[in-house]
């Protein structure tokens, strides 16, 4: 028995030194040994091979257009005027075009049925569908059994992901987080000085780098000259809690959020010891003025790190950007927009908080192939004179959507929990009435003339 324990212990030591030597140490110094790059290259080749096999297997099916993988029905984006105009033109008695005709209802009927089959809001809260399968069971919707070889590849993939990658990643994540807690607590013991800030930054970045390795993340940063500076506010689109790790790998930010209990709480408390973050109690969150004041005070102090805020307020599935809440844009200061786009081929980063809790989400992340994403730093923006916060927020949102190749929506992400306001329906009615009233008014005039 003792012999078995000894062997186990030796194996454990070997395992830990490999991990430490090949992964943790290079991560601390920001050096990449190139393992992730090789891994990703092999992965791409494998997935391409798998795609070819699937396409060959599906040849007997009619060729379907490989469109944006997120719509299931064809939508004609004509405006209400165009669509109803087309309907009316085919009506024989409609000479002037502008009268109500019985077929007007068809427009609303079709739109309604389209929305029953697929609507813009719910669609943004489900994971993006892939055009071709990436050998993960969870993304397998349309793909049926093709060949033995493909099944073997898939089986091999499961083995590699669950038995080799998962333990490795869990080890790294635990090392990273413990390092964060211990390191920040130690740094917190020092008196305030430049050295303390430098050490705090080092501890934070190292921890996030280790965590990024723990997710097999390959991140590309573009336009690094626009990186957020101290005293500013960094604003980004939100897809998952991993966004924080992605951004913090290349710079230090002051986090904003609610105080949690449990493990999160421990991490939060130790982080705040080494450099100021902004953590709110639940009760404080309701008071918008108190929140705004704290944030204002933070950015007024030019020695403090830039704040990181996600104005959508909730996780969206990375195909679009939803309404930015104006709160962050009323504080003043310089806004540094950042666009984050994940490549869904290697792993779906979207956190569907209704479907998965945090733990199952992290497990899913750690059993994906990899997290590959692009981060674009956009030039800083400030609120112009006479511009209101909502308009400014929309301006920033459009810039981010355009850079990241995401669809710019004005729906509120919070709508997934609330009801739609009556005013939306009134707008539709107003638009429709403008297509009739002109002629109704003209008719009224004509009647008086003929009399």
């Amino acid at each position: 028995m003792e012999g078995a324990w000894d062997i186990a212990f030796v194996l454990f030591q070997v395992w830990m030194s490999i991990v430490a030597g090949l992964i943790v140490l290079p991560a601390m110094f920001g050096v990449s040994l190139g393992f992730t790059d090789i891994y990703i290259k092999v992965l791409i080749k494998t997935l391409e091979w798998a795609t070819l096999r699937i396409q060959r297997g599906q040849k007997e099916q009619p060729a379907l257009p490989s469109q944006s993988a997120n719509g299931i029905i064809e939508k004609h984006d004509g405006s209400m005027e165009e669509e109803i105009g087309e309907l009316r033109r085919s009506h024989p008695k409609n000479l002037a075009g502008g009268d109500f005709t019985l077929c007007d209802a068809f427009y609303f009927c079709k739109k309604g049925i389209e929305n029953i089959v697929e609507d813009q809001v719910t669609q943004r809260f489900t994971s993006e569908e892939l055009a071709s399968w990436n050998l993960l069971t969870r993304t397998n919707n349309n793909f049926r059994y093709i060949s033995v070889r493909l099944t073997i590849m898939w089986g091999l993939g499961v083995f590699i992901r669950y038995c080799i990658l998962l333990p490795l990643r869990i080890t790294l994540a635990s090392i990273g987080l413990s390092w964060l807690v211990i390191g920040t607590t130690l740094v917190g013991l020092l008196p305030n000085s430049n050295a303390k800030n430098w050490l705090s930054d080092l501890v934070h970045i190292t921890c996030y780098r280790i965590c990024a390795r723990g997710l097999s993340a390959r991140i590309r940063y573009h336009n690094k000259e626009n990186r957020p500076k101290k005293g500013g506010i960094c604003v980004a689109n939100h897809t998952s809690p991993i966004d924080i790790v992605i951004l913090a790998n290349d710079g230090c930010y002051a986090m904003v959020g609610q105080v949690h209990g449990g493990l999160m709480g421990v991490i939060q408390r130790s982080m705040v010891r080494s450099c100021p973050h902004v953590w709110f109690e639940r009760s404080e969150m309701k008071d918008r003025h108190a929140v705004a004041k704290r944030l204002k005070d933070h950015i007024a102090d030019k020695t403090k790190l830039p704040i990181l805020i996600f104005p959508e307020g909730t996780c969206i599935n990375n195909t679009s950007v939803m309404m930015f809440k104006k709160g962050s844009f009323e504080i003043g200061g310089t806004i540094y927009p950042v666009a984050i786009k994940y490549d869904p081929q290697f792993g779906d980063a979207f956190w569907n908080s209704a479907k998965y809790n945090m733990v199952s989400y992290i497990l899913r992340m750690m059993t994906s192939w990899a997290i590959v994403c692009n981060v674009w730093y956009l030039p800083p923006m400030t609120r112009q004179d006479g511009e209101d916060a909502v308009h400014f927020a929309n301006r920033v949102k459009s810039a981010i959507a355009q850079q990241g190749g995401l669809i710019d929506l004005s729906w509120d992400g919070g709508l997934k929990r609330e009801k739609v306001k009556e005013s939306f329906k009134e707008e539709q009615q107003k638009m429709y009435s403008s297509m009739i009233q002109d002629l109704t008014e003209k008719n009224g005039l004509q009647k008086t003339y003929t009399v």
Binding site: L64, T101, K110, G112, V117, T151, Y432, Q437
Partner: protein, 194 residues
């Protein structure tokens, strides 16, 4: 792998459903996923509130009528079969379908599409759109944007144009005749991408 077939097996009488509606297996699966997504509590059927939760439908002026079309008179629930059958009205017309003399008319024929639209107007299902019913639809589509007089004049004009037998109501045949030239297939069809 093979999860497609297992999903299909979970749906009862799926073969009959596919034959009646003409949807392909892939479409049935998508509609089933959508049905499950709308059925948040997993009860196996939908009620009007589940439809009301769709944001864009809530802002559609005749959204309530469209929702009503899914529920047979007196029933408060709609199961997956009925859901798919109603949506089958909006399948594009099958141009290459051979005309078998004894087979029933497919759900997505031009005539059935028109009947669906007719029912949005004819809420009491007496086969005619009365002046009153027309006024109600106009009020729904225009809301507070027009006065009562304007609504009445629009309704009067519409009935005048379409009502051929002078009974002050629009029957289905008159409805159909009035919309002869409209491209129903294009305007009342929804194409699935996959």
């Amino acid at each position: 792998m093979g999860s497609t077939n297992s999903t299909l097996l979970k749906i009862p009488n799926v073969e009959v459903l596919m034959q009646e509606t003409g949807f392909s297996p892939a479409h049935i699966i998508r509609l089933h996923d959508r049905f499950k997504a709308l059925d948040k509590e997993g009860r196996g059927y939908l009620c009007p509130q589940d439809f009301g939760a769709i944001k864009e439908l809530a802002m559609n002026p005749i959204g309530d009528r469209i929702i009503g079309a899914f529920f047979s008179p007196g029933k408060e629930t709609v199961d997956f079969h009925a859901f798919v059958k109603i949506l089958a009205h909006f399948r594009p017309v099958d141009k290459d379908r051979p005309k078998e003399p004894n087979s029933p008319e497919p759900i997505n024929s031009r005539s059935n599409k028109l009947k669906f639209a007719f029912q949005l107007y004819d809420q009491d299902k007496d086969g005619k759109i009365s002046r009153d019913e027309l006024l109600k639809v106009l009020r729904a589509m225009l809301g507070m944007q027009v006065t009562e007089e304007q609504l009445e004049s629009i309704a009067d004009r519409t009935i005048q144009e379409a009502d051929l037998d002078r009974d002050d109501a629009i029957s289905f045949e008159e409805f159909r005749k009035s919309l002869e030239k409209v491209n129903i297939d294009h305007k009342m069809s929804i194409r699935f991408l996959r």
